[in-house]
Amino acid sequence: MQYKSQAVAKPYFIAAIGLFVGQILFGLIMGLQYVVGDFLFPEIPFNVARMVHTNLLIVWLLFGFMGAAYYIIPEESETELFSPKLALILFWIFLAAGVLTILGYLLVPYATLAAMTGNNILPTMGREFLEQPLITKLGIVVVALAFLFNLTMTMLKGRKTSISLVLMLGLWGLAVFFLFSFYDPANLVLDKFYWWWVVHMWVEGVWELILGALLSFVLIKVTGVDREVIEKWLYVIVAMSLITGIIGTGHHYYWIGTPAYWQWWGSIFSAMEPIPFFMMTVFAFNMVNRRRRDHPNKVATLWALGTGVMAFLGAGVWGFLHTLAPINYYTHGTQITAAHGHLAFYGAYVMVVLTMISYAMPLLRGRIANSNKSQVTEMWGFWLMTIAMVFITLFLTAAGILQVYLQRVSDTPLPFMVVQQKIALFYWLREAAGVIFFAGLVTYLASFFVKGETKAITA
């Protein structure tokens, strides 16, 4: 850690990991409800568990992104953060808002929560991933703006690198596209059309800028490869992300009432969306092979390589599987979508945040890397979680293929619930893989408490 104010990243990372644990616990509850339908009913109905699961994911990734930005921007700008105090105040506001929102989902009937929080004045709730009450959404905007102000001021007074530029563009884009969450017209087709301006423009657009910037930063640090080389790669990768991803939004516009020409635009451009992810994999391996130093933090390098591979598999390959319109006609809204969603979020965004935490956390704790013993424990966490997620994805894919056949392709299509019962075996297997994932997460957590000899920062 080169600048004192980078320390504000630490609470953000800790909160991120804490909420990650909550996300996985609710994932296990939902996974069980898929096969034991009345589990925890009526205390925690499936839709409530799902809101908690997905909203915790979003919130903890945002904590991770913010922590990463607070760590990276001062170091890249070669100056202290504009206001560390503001960063800490925002941390507590965001944490309180997040926790209160989750408690609201769990303790108050959703319709009551909506009525209590101004949804009748401006309806925005009850849409997938954007379930947050109006006041939470407004809170997110305020926190995001103050956060961006703090970092932009930091960048303006210091060195402007390509990494910090791409990172800030990604974060500003994140805030700007979130504003579409306030547009909820009565016309469902319009509602869906612009809903994707938040969801797609985030995960298949500006978040990829953040992903690229975080990965590049860590790769520079752990490999010592020349910044010019890494930043050139970064620009090419994010260029391909947006060139393919913006029109690629069209792959969500096949069947929601929008004109049929989107089937062409969406298929062609989204078929190219794996390209930047493939480049990311090549990039990560290339830089590690050409490394000019052997950084003692081996596990951070493992996470960085893992991010490249798993993002390509989850977002790239599993996305491509069902992105072409004639295929998507059958797979749209099935377990195939769920399979892709899980591996893409884990491989791209979960892993890049954990890469960043793995690199920065030892430095925030006053050492260049954790002890060998601690790193080996963390590597066990890496492999358990990653392999478990691959199996979750494979089982959901198997369930999805059967679902598509039985419900949509066969000459005698069966009703939804009949099909669900027939494919229950794969849901059980998915749940078992989920338990392994949780074991991996516990191992990962344990690695933070494993002691052993460490080197103090000398560089």
Binding site: F46, A114, A186, L190, K232, A239, I247, G257, H332, G333
Partner: protein
């Protein structure tokens, strides 16, 4: 990457490409906005349909069901449920929840009034009439 391809060239492709394709996306969005009224039949958006969508949202139906294939995959597709089941069945089904069948997936009881049920059905009827390019492949959703 070779020395002749410089970082500033890469940066220019990033900025130029992003701006170009975003503008193209806006143009397509404009064209779509012109085409939508004939496909979504917005002239049929009655106050009942609007209220129905509000009920749909405030009960977080999307947390279990899909509508036009988007949402959660825990419970049946509802974009075409009006055609699959008809209004009377839908209302009776919602009123009779939860089934309490052991081990079966359960839907909460939302205590909707008859008028709210009619509004919800109006919303589902309007939704079932959207031109979705023939999706879903069959009535099972």
């Amino acid at each position: 990457m070779s020395q002749t391809f410089t970082k500033s060239m890469a940066r220019n492709i990033f900025y130029g490409g992003s701006v170009f394709f975003f503008l193209l996306f806006l143009a397509l969005t404009f064209d779509t906005s012109q085409a939508l009224p004939k496909r979504d039949h917005r002239e049929n958006l009655t106050p009942a349909v609007v209220r129905g969508k509000h009920i749909w949202e405030t009960r977080d139906c999307i947390g279990c069901h899909t509508i036009l294939g988007e949402g959660a995959y825990f419970a049946p597709e509802l974009g075409d449920v009006y055609k699959r089941r008809g209004p009377a069945f839908i209302k009776a089904w919602i009123k009779s929840q939860p089934t309490h069948v052991a081990g079966r997936r359960q839907m909460p009881q939302f205590h909707l009034t008859d008028r709210q049920l009619d509004d919800l059905v109006a919303f589902l009827k309007w939704t079932s009439e959207i031109n979705t390019n023939n999706w879903p492949p069959n009535i099972q959703g």
